[in-house]
């Protein structure tokens, strides 16, 4: 039984203030930087949400609405500041591009390492290596250090790994868009299959089509809160309307 449950969850970031002796000694030297007055960002506000098995949730909203933070919180990378967060089930995720790779190592080593970090054992990830390589279509490039990869190639690699490990919960940030058209349609196909394998999927997206096509529930986030929750068609329509 997989479930994601949030009860009155808040997440507050502390912004690390730049403290320098210079700023104390020379008054006014800091005038261009008043970002540090408060030093906190309220990224998720009093959120209540339950995602049950079989739900494919799309999250839409402006940049900085807290969508990616929400995903990272569910995956366990950011602990909530207050409230209760329950996540049951094995998670596989894909967030920013090109981070979490060992730049000097080749594609194969990175598949192995990323697989381990997503909870595979050495044997199970080795068994999936060729399938991942095939899906990524990177071919010869896999023998090359990943520091030479383009962002599209990183997407191919990261996406192929994250979706190859059959999780209960799949968390995807909108990154697939950096792939080329051929890969995009392939990735969409893969996600549709994943929906059948994985019990819960959460997809952060700016593409309204994929929200409608791939998901059966959609939330619209604004400033860390849920503005609207419902059928993808209705929510995306309302969202687009609000922008005009």
């Amino acid at each position: 039984m997989s479930i994601i449950k949030l009860e009155d969850v808040n997440l507050i970031f502390k912004v690390w203030r730049e403290k320098r002796i210079k700023n104390i000694l020379i008054p006014g030297s800091k005038k261009f930087n008043d970002f540090d007055k408060d030093g906190t960002i309220h990224a998720i506000r009093d959120m209540n949400l339950t995602i049950n098995e079989g739900e494919r949730l799309a999250i839409i909203g402006h940049n900085g609405a807290g969508k990616s933070t929400f995903l990272k919180m569910v995956s366990g990378i950011y602990p909530p500041t207050s409230g209760s967060l329950t996540v049951e089930g094995r998670i596989s995720s894909m967030f920013e591009l090109a981070t979490g790779f060992e730049m000097e190592s080749n594609g194969w080593d990175n598949i192995y390492l990323r697989g381990l970090m997503l909870g595979e054992t050495p044997d199970s990830i080795k068994a999936k290596m060729s399938e991942i390589a095939e899906f990524s279509e990177l071919g010869e490039f896999l023998n090359m250090p990943v520091k030479y990869y383009s962002s599209g190639m990183f997407v191919r690699l990261a996406f192929s790994i994250s979706t190859a490990i059959h999780p209960d919960i799949l968390l995807l940030d909108e990154v697939v868009a950096a792939g080329d058209a051929a890969f995009l349609s392939k990735a969409n196909q893969r996600m549709k299959e994943m929906v059948e394998i994985s019990k819960i999927m959460v997809l952060v997206t700016h593409a309204m089509d994929s929200a409608v096509e791939m998901c059966n529930r959609c939330i619209w986030m604004e400033r860390g809160s849920i503005v609207m929750d419902g059928d993808p068609k209705d929510v995306t329509k309302a969202y687009i309307k609000s922008m005009v």
Binding site: R114, M117, T121
Partner: protein, 261 residues
Amino acid sequence: MLKDYFKGIWQDRYILLSLVNKDLQLKYRRSALGVAWAILTPLGLVLIIGSVYSIIFGADPKVFIPALFAGLNPWLFINIAADGGTMSFIGAEGYLKQTTVNAQIFPVRVVMGGFINLLYSILAFFAVYLFLQPQLFGPKMLMMFPGLIIMFVFAVSLANISAVLNLNARDYQPLQSLILQGLFYVTPIIYEPSMLAAKGFAIVYQINPIYYILEVVRTPMLGRELPTWDVYVIAIAITVVLFFISVKLVMKTKKGIAFKL
């Protein structure tokens, strides 16, 4: 807390080993001699310093060079652990923001890489020593192994502490490297402890924790005698206390570490 610390390392043991392996491979990538550098570097360094000091101090190179070798390489290892530790969390930002890998493996990663290099340099040491003083080889040398274990745990503690402190205040790294450079001169590495004692400054090394950690490895390696039991007691006590403190710090930092990166 201690249980969670070890549980996390055990859980991510394959990641840890794979990272250490990668670090070692990358270090000697595209070099013709490859891993031989791990043996040649300490050897060359010791021969240079050893020859110069033998001339200046008029010490017998046959005695002085091995003594220097046995002290310098463990010192370098401790240095790498403390210095490498400072960047171990910061350098792992990509992993820590992308996956829920246990953060405590990253300081250990640095220490393990340094430790393998230390083992290579010890091999080089014995090769030289066998040539210079073959009569000193004996079972006493086996006491080097418990010493290495103490030193390893000590180094992990240092790496843990410097990883946490540097994450919170980036001033820590330059400060620490200054302290380490100073410690190099007050620790009996390029001179004998007895030389300090003869001038009435024995206290300088007696209050230096690193002296005890070096002693439990260096003295058995030289094969002449073994450290006295009080040296072992002090070395173990320092290591255990430091390790507890460092684990507490790491586990406290681990929660929400992605915020701090």
